[in-house]
Symmetry: C2
């Protein structure tokens, strides 16, 4: 049954179409409309806003059932969003972009490294409300119940106000790792200041070659700031940060006056 005026929801992620969080998102989105998902055919975590310039990309059909179409794409998360909007949806009205549900937090500066948020940001460039949802739990078998429940509320609120909210509209939603009933509520936040410091795991491979493996920890520069997304997560709130892409450092522009000439 296809309803007239039924919503069309585009879904992607970075953990691939095989992840538990992706399936949770598809099931959640079905409550709100017809779903077309184009997701990476393999794990693309940490792919940021990366695009594939120098290679051809392949797509295959994974599922075509009542109200749900799922395709696996060989590109990055952003490639998935681009081919959806610039090729498949050329003449379709899309009502909502959802990315995730990601296995692992994308709070703070993680918004920049995350393929999930890369795709959500890209989706917002098409003037469609775009929501990336992440659960602060990297486990492949993580419990997405709380994230689904909170995501449902946020999606409903965004859809209800979609016509009046400005564009581009992109939300970075992070859900704490705790029992569903322990979640304290939803907080609008700003991105926490702080950076990752890495500790490269250095070993030798079976052929005697040195290798390095990235591992690190986020250094929160303002752990006490109650208006930040990291604070919210640490206190079992769902953190919602609206995201924009003007990266100009306006304060620095003033400092550089007369210095760069």
């Amino acid at each position: 049954m296809t309803m007239q005026n039924e919503r069309l929801i585009f879904i992607t992620n970075d953990d691939s179409y095989l992840s538990k969080g992706f399936r949770a998102m598809v099931n959640l989105a079905k409550e709100f409309g017809r779903v077309i998902a184009i997701a990476p055919d393999r794990v693309q975590s940490g792919m940021s806003q990366a695009i594939t310039i120098n290679q051809p990309l392949f797509m295959r059909t994974v599922e075509q059932s009542e109200g749900v179409e799922i395709y696996a794409f060989s590109g990055t998360p952003v490639d998935c969003a681009k081919i959806a909007f610039d090729h498949f949806f050329a003449n379709k009205r899309v009502d909502l972009v959802l990315s995730g549900i990601n296995h692992g937090s994308n709070a703070a500066v993680n918004v920049m490294y995350s393929g999930t948020m890369g795709a959500a940001i890209e989706g917002s460039f098409y003037n469609v409300p775009s929501i990336g949802i992440s659960l602060d739990d990297h486990d492949a078998d993580a419990d997405f119940e709380g994230a689904v429940e909170q995501g449902r509320k946020i999606i409903a609120q965004v859809l209800q106000s979609a016509e009046t909210l400005p564009r581009p509209l992109c939300l970075n939603v992070n859900v704490p790792r705790c029992a569903r009933e322990e979640i304290q509520g939803i907080r609008l936040c700003r991105q926490t200041r702080g950076f990752w410091r890495e500790d490269f795991y250095a070993r030798q491979d079976p052929h005697g070659r040195d290798y390095f493996w990235l591992t690190g920890a986020f250094q929160n520069a303002e752990p006490e700031a109650e208006d930040t997304d990291e604070w919210a997560l640490a206190h079992k709130y769902v953190a919602v940060v609206p995201v924009q892409v003007d990266m100009t450092d306006y304060a620095m522009l003033r400092s550089l006056n007369g210095v760069i000439k």
Copy 2:
């Protein structure tokens, strides 16, 4: 001859250590101090802020000569910056990060897709002044003379004021494609608003499988705005945009008040 207090300059890029622009940057940087470069071992254009989480990374020595060390790394541009600072430079004072010279403009929203700027941004997280330099010419054999000349001026100006300028300090420098003597000067700019719209090249491979290849064009939302980097490039100025990474949409935070709850 190693001078006491000699500057240490870290270089990376996204076109790999084999590119002409990388070599131009190394030669330019040598004028300012000792150079240690860790650059991708293959082309990593469009890799944004991507990091390699699920694979080991390998490094090999390319060159160790008077004042210049060059290493090829199997990671992304950001991986190159991370392993430099978090592994090799752990106890060294680094004076400057240079990324590029990129073959192709990274003005406007390209700052988000660019591996060159991804690495420059990452470098700035270590409290070292960081400059990404790009030439608006994708040709593998592009003429970097003008970019070197303008880059030299900007590097000298940044180093001269390095102690008084705030941190993080990251500059996105884009040089127009024109004869060296046609360049009109250097302009401090903000990032131009606008997005890419892609036109996927769709064909069949020799085995009859459909493939897609990304190709597109930047849609400038404000071509007349004289304070933007695209305007500067179009008018043969060198565009310098300071870059920061708080992506919070503060105006949207206010719009969402009472909507998301």
